[in-house]
């Protein structure tokens, strides 16, 4: 089963990378009022059970993929097997 995990800085958390991108985009002439940078993790899991996959990914996020103090995550499962 394939899964996509979107990891974003939580609202209110400083995002220096986003600020740099916003500033660069404005220097290039784009009318952008905010930019936030997160990560996209695409996983191929060996399980085919959605509930099991979601539970595993939540543990992966807590342990490795995200920093739960400052980042939120969103899990999208795709059953295209």
């Amino acid at each position: 089963m394939r899964a996509t995990v979107l990891v974003r800085p939580k609202p209110g958390i400083l995002d220096p990378q986003g600020q740099a991108v916003e500033s660069s985009l404005r220097h290039l002439g784009f009318a952008v009022s905010d930019a936030r940078i997160g990560r996209l993790v695409e996983l191929e899991l060996e399980t085919d059970d959605s509930a099991e996959a979601r539970a595993q990914i939540e543990r992966m996020c807590e342990q490795l993929l995200a920093n739960p103090l400052i980042e939120s995550y969103e899990i999208e499962l795709r059953t295209d097997t």
Copy 2:
């Protein structure tokens, strides 16, 4: 208008960060057969026109947000204004 840009390494392009994550997840005991890492860019644009927003973001991706040689990008617009 808010937009989300998903930037992924193209298929076949080496992704050392993804390999490191895959290896770490396996060491933690997760049954993962592939992991790829990309970026998530969330933008607040000043335009409210979808076609104009999409055209602007395509130029941003070509110039700054992605490396078109090795990365593909996907644009999602949200008209929640």
